[in-house]
């Protein structure tokens, strides 16, 4: 089967809307199709990776452990926009998983080399 470069752009915070959760579902399926998968977290999307999510009080499923499981599906390209982290006073230590932090110029190149860019 053809291998394409799929990029998932996550720009929304978790729980307030369903997009972060349903994006993860597509990410896992895309990996199952042996595609080249990248995830980008920018704007409020960086909050998806915040450590210490406790969802009992809002009775939502806590899906944040899934980000740690991605490696097991060979999904290792996780990119975070540096400026979005800075604007939210977050550092890499605040995040659930190891990520590659990119500048805006690096992100521009990354966007341009993709075949399919999905955002929710």
């Amino acid at each position: 089967m053809t291998t394409k470069k799929f990029m998932f752009v996550n720009r929304k915070a978790p729980y307030g809307t369903v997009y972060a959760l349903e994006s993860l579902e597509v990410v896992l399926i895309t990996a199952a199709f042996d595609q080249d998968v990248s995830l980008v977290f920018m704007d409020d999307g960086v909050y998806q990776l915040k450590k210490g999510q406790q969802t009992k009080g809002i009775e939502h499923k806590n899906f944040s452990p899934t980000y740690r499981a991605l490696e097991g599906y060979d999904i290792e390209k996780l990119y975070v926009d540096r400026e979005s982290m800075t604007a939210r006073s977050l550092t890499e230590d605040d995040l659930l998983v190891p990520v590659t932090v990119l500048s805006r110029d690096q992100l521009t190149s990354l966007f341009e080399e993709q075949d399919v860019v999905l955002s929710f």
Binding site: M1, T2, K4, F6, V18, Y19, E22, E25, V26, I29, T30, A32, F33, Q35, D115, V116, L118, S119, F120
Partner: protein
């Protein structure tokens, strides 16, 4: 060229479904093929045959059904998103079918372009 389309929002609340529909019509008029429209999130509500808009409004659901009938566009509703929202085979409008997310990935692989419409 072969297009895949993704619709992430329901009818009437957001313009996304309208814009996606107009895009599909224009693509077909240009001689392109719309291989599949994949409905995800609240977009699955586009498939409910129980919708009854007022007479003087557009019928979003029927419009999609007609596109499928006349141009062979495959209208696929995400099963997990549909079940969460009460969309089932028994209330599915003509031309729609329920299937998995693999259908979205597949059209992403097979089509020349995948265009996303949402909020």
């Amino acid at each position: 060229m072969k297009f895949g389309i993704m619709v992430n929002e329901g009818p009437y609340q957001h313009q996304a479904s309208d814009t996606a529909y107009q895009f599909c019509r224009a693509a077909i008029a240009r001689g392109h093929t719309v291989q599949r429209v994949f409905f995800y999130h609240d977009g699955v509500n586009n498939a409910s045959r129980l919708t009854e808009p007022p007479q003087d409004d557009r019928n979003v659901v029927q419009r999609w059904s007609k596109l499928a009938e006349e141009h062979g566009v495959d209208l696929v509703v995400c099963v997990a998103a549909a079940l969460r929202r009460g969309i089932k085979d028994e209330n599915l409008a003509p031309g729609f079918r329920i299937s998995g997310l693999g259908q979205l990935v597949e059209v992403g692989i097979q089509a020349d372009r995948l265009v996303v419409f949402g909020d």
